[in-house]
C-alpha cells in the first residue's frame, strides 16, 4: 500500500517531495563530509579542525533523512533499484562512507591528534566514495532496465 502511495499519490508530497528531501539530505551529508575531508587533506588550514566536530550532527541528520526517503523511494519502485547493479554500488559507497566518517571522527576528535598519512588517506577515500555515491545515484536514472514488475523503463 505504501508502495502504491509513493508511486501514485497525486499530492506533491509523495514521489516528487521524497526526491526533494533526498537531495537536501545528500547536500548535508556529502557536503559536510567533503568539508571535513578537504580540511584534513590540508585545504583551508586556518580553519580550526576541532570546531568541525560540530559538523557531525549535520551529517547524521542528512543520513537519517536520506535513509528514510531512500527507503520510501525503494518501496515505491523496488524492481527498478534491486535489478540494477549500480544500486548496489551506491549502497557500497554509502556504507564505506559512513564507516570512514565514524573512523575519522574517532581518530581526529576530540583530542586533535596529528593528521597522519593514514588519516589523510581515509579522508581522500571518503571524498571518493561520496562522489561515487552521488554519481551512482544519478546514474540509476540512466541505467534502469526494469521499472516495476515486468514493466521496462
Amino acid at each position: 500500500m505504501l508502495s502504491v502511495w509513493v508511486r501514485e499519490s497525486p499530492t506533491m508530497f509523495a514521489f516528487p517531495f521524497i526526491l526533494v528531501v533526498h537531495a537536501w539530505g545528500m547536500g548535508l551529508l556529502a557536503g559536510a563530509n567533503a568539508a571535513v575531508d578537504l580540511r584534513i587533506l590540508g585545504f583551508a588550514p586556518r580553519v580550526p579542525l576541532s570546531a568541525m566536530s560540530k559538523f557531525y550532527p549535520v551529517m547524521w541528520f542528512g543520513f537519517v533523512i536520506n535513509a528514510v526517503s531512500g527507503l520510501l523511494l525503494l518501496i515505491g519502485y523496488p524492481t527498478k533499484a534491486l535489478t540494477n547493479p549500480v544500486f548496489y554500488l551506491k549502497l557500497l559507497c554509502i556504507t564505506v562512507g559512513m564507516i570512514l566518517m565514524s573512523w575519522v571522527r574517532r581518530r581526529v576528535f576530540p583530542r586533535d591528534a596529528p593528521l597522519t598519512g593514514n588519516i589523510k588517506a581515509m579522508a581522500a577515500l571518503s571524498l571518493l566514495v561520496w562522489a561515487g555515491a552521488i554519481v551512482s545515484g544519478r546514474l540509476l536514472a540512466y541505467t534502469c532496465k526494469h521499472l516495476l514488475g515486468d514493466m521496462k523503463c
Binding site: A34, R46, K54
Partner: protein
C-alpha cells in the same frame, strides 16, 4: 513579442556546438553528477554558515566557518557552468518550466540577500567568538539564505515534473 524572441533564442541555443556536445549518451549524466557535487559543496559550507548564524553549533567561531565559503563559491561556479550546459541543450524545457522560474527567483533573492549580508552585517559578525549569538538582522539573513538554497534544490529536483506543456496550474506561464 517576448514569446517570439524567447522561441528564437531557444532555437538558436539548440543549434550551438555546446548543445550538440550535450546530446551524447554520457555528457548529460556526467554534468548532472557534477551539478549534484557542486550542490553538496554549497550546502555543506554556506548552509552550515547559515545554521551558525541562526544559532546552531555556537561553539564554532563564525570567522572559522567563513573560511569555508570559497568552497561553496567553487561549488556554485561548477553549478553555473553545468547549469548553462543544461539550459543550452534543452532551452525550451527550462524557459517554459515554472519550477525553473522559481529556481531563478530563489537564486536572485539569495543574491540580493548575500549582498545585504556583506554590506551591512559581515563586519559585525566576523568577530563573533565561540558561544556568541549573531544579531537579529544577521539571523534573518541566515534564515533567508538557507531557505533560498533549499528552495533552489527543491525547484531543481522538481524541474522534471513540470516540463512544458504539463504546467496547467501555472498562472504566469
Amino acid at each position: 513579442m517576448l514569446d517570439e524572441s524567447l522561441r528564437e533564442l531557444a532555437r538558436w541555443l539548440s543549434h550551438t556546438s555546446l548543445a550538440s556536445f550535450m546530446s551524447g549518451a554520457w555528457e548529460w549524466p556526467i554534468a548532472e553528477s557534477l551539478h549534484f557535487m557542486g550542490l553538496s559543496m554549497l550546502i555543506g559550507t554556506v548552509g552550515i554558515f547559515d545554521l551558525r548564524l541562526l544559532g546552531f553549533a555556537k561553539r564554532i567561531p563564525l570567522s572559522a566557518l567563513h573560511r569555508l565559503i570559497p568552497w561553496g563559491i567553487g561549488g556554485f561556479v561548477v553549478n553555473m557552468l553545468t547549469g548553462i550546459c543544461f539550459l543550452t541543450a534543452a532551452a525550451d524545457q527550462y524557459m517554459y518550466n515554472p519550477a525553473f522560474h522559481l529556481k531563478i527567483l530563489s537564486m536572485a533573492i539569495a543574491g540580493v540577500n548575500v549582498m545585504l549580508f556583506y554590506t551591512t552585517m559581515f563586519k559585525k559578525v566576523r568577530t563573533l567568538g565561540p558561544g556568541e549569538d549573531a544579531p537579529m538582522p544577521a539571523r534573518i539573513i541566515g534564515g533567508v539564505s538557507l531557505t533560498c538554497w533549499l528552495s533552489v534544490i527543491a525547484c531543481g529536483r522538481l524541474l522534471t515534473f513540470y516540463r512544458p506543456p504539463s504546467f496547467h496550474w501555472c498562472f504566469w506561464c
